[in-house]
């Protein structure tokens, strides 16, 4: 299975709900809910507050006061939560008293997944039929673009939670492919309600980065600073205006500090991209890393410093050229039982 390296822990949560058939009966859960509500009222009385307006936060504070615990893990401390949060949602028994299953796809093993696929395909065929009818009447096809920007499909874990069934990666990708096909059709707006069940809003994460204004030194020359890093190298760059294109690194000229052409190319990359090669002077300090890492760090630092000299559109162009993102690639750690990060020990037959 593919292990996502770069996602949050929330995405990799195990879906307990789909693990098996019901472990807690419905009556049991109802009883737990009643007990919880009664307990909430008792707690409110104990704390001297109004039982009607006693919220979950109040409960948490009361429990933390009554049962102080020095344990490190928050989930090991005493807690009182609503039973629906404590007992995960699980599938009810799928067959009746005579043993006959309720759903017609029960014997496929993944009944909710296959019924979902059938439904989606039915919608797809409906849209196609509608489209064919309109082409038969020679009406023009309207193409309305769906807003790609702010939405994403449900992740595999979220879909598993919705269906209460375990899915494989293959199943998930097939479902997403079918959804994309449906969305690509011209008249997919008919099924907009259905599609919205499977898409989520992503807050447009442009993260308006505050571009610092230019600073002026004693002679009135404008300058701005930027910091950059790459692997273990850290660099700070100060870019001065009205310059001749001289670049100084740690007190020495770049020709002496970076004998390799590729590194010097990287240093000049932001200036060349903006077309400002002879116009700025740069003084930078860099430490750590190797030859290429230091060059990458200075490139990032200078690109960040140049943002203050340049229009917003050009900043956007720089971002799309990959000049303003921190390179997350670092050396992978060595694992036990292997010789390197990926290389295994020599296999010996005996």
């Amino acid at each position: 299975t593919l292990r996502l390296i770069c996602t949050t822990a929330a995405v990799q949560r195990k879906n307990v709900g789909a693990s098996g058939p019901e472990k807690y009966t419905e009556a049991f859960i109802k009883k737990q809910i009643e007990e919880f509500n009664l307990g909430k009222r008792h707690l409110a009385n104990m704390m001297g507050e109004d039982p009607e307006t006693f919220t979950q936060e109040d409960i948490d504070r009361a429990i933390a006061y009554l049962f102080p615990s020095g344990l490190f893990d928050k989930q090991a401390r005493p807690m009182m939560k609503h039973p629906t949060e404590v007992f995960p949602e699980q599938r009810k028994i799928q067959w009746g008293e005579d043993g006959r299953p309720f759903h017609f796809l029960f014997y496929t093993g993944k009944q909710s997944y296959y019924s979902l696929m059938h439904e989606t395909y039915e919608k797809f065929l409906n849209v196609q039929k509608h489209q064919d009818q309109l082409t038969a009447q020679d009406l023009p096809l309207q193409k309305e673009k769906r807003n790609l920007a702010g939405s994403r499909w449900l992740t595999k874990i979220e879909l598993e939670e919705m269906l209460l069934e375990k899915l494989s990666d293959d199943d998930y990708s097939r479902f997403i492919q079918l959804l994309e096909k449906l969305v690509a059709l011209p008249y997919a707006d008919m099924e907009e309600n259905y599609i919205q069940k499977f898409s989520k809003e992503v807050p447009v994460q442009l993260q308006k980065v505050v571009i610092e204004p230019l600073q002026y030194d004693e002679q009135g020359v404008a300058f701005s600073t930027g910091e950059g890093k790459r692997k273990t190298a850290r660099a700070t760059a100060v870019v001065y205006d009205n310059g001749t294109g001289k670049i100084t690194v740690n007190g020495t000229d770049i020709l002496h500090y970076f004998p390799v052409l590729q590194d010097r190319e990287q240093l000049l990359f932001p200036f060349q991209f903006l077309g400002r090669i002879g116009k700025h002077d740069m003084v930078c300090t860099v430490s750590g890393g190797g030859r290429s890492a230091q060059a990458g760090a200075i490139r990032l630092a200078s690109a960040k410093a140049l943002r203050s000299f340049v229009t917003e559109q050009e900043v956007e162009f720089m971002r799309q050229a990959g000049l303003l993102t921190v390179d997350p690639r670092v050396k992978e750690r060595k694992k036990p039982g292997q010789e390197g990060p990926r290389r295994k020990f020599t296999w010996k037959k005996r």
Partner: protein
Amino acid sequence: RIMPVRWSRYNPSYLEPEVKKESYQKPLEKLTDEEREQKELKAVRPIKAAPPTLSSSVFSDPLISKFTNMMMKSGNKVLARSLMSQTLEAIKRKQLEKYHKAPENEKETIECNPYVIFHQALKNCQPIIGLSNITKGGKTYQVPVPLTDNRKRFLAMKWLITECRENKHRRTMMAEKLSQELLLAFNNEGPVIKKKHVLHKMAEANRAYAHFRWW
């Protein structure tokens, strides 16, 4: 569709950076629909950092960088890059010699730009069809199979490099030998082109087994 990549440190939703300056100076009307969609997507999605081999200068060429990486041994990029630049210099020198010696009417036909020669030579070396081993009923057959663009480019570069490493005299420099091979390939002569033709003939000979392919 976004598939999580096993060995990428980036989130799968990160897009590739576009380095060329010209693509940012195109006015809005000239873009096709697909390009417009791409542009909108780029405005919202995060973008990967540009790798150290990529730059917006005139001198950086993706094909040349790929070839340099293939020539590199044990991570010695400095040496590989210097070999590449010496090769291009050698090609330029030879072509200039030819240019100055040629009569007036032929002067226009002689190509002096080493990048153009490199690209054309690689294109001439690319095979159109490849062979793949398919085991059926205990016997392994060589079945003719179509190749993707990436595979064609890779095979052309690989043949060129192996040819230069093995079949050269002990005293000739790699840059010298490479420039000779590239010029021969540019004129559709030379051992690499011969290898390509041999592969094509084998594929033609094994036409009978073409139906073994199931993809």
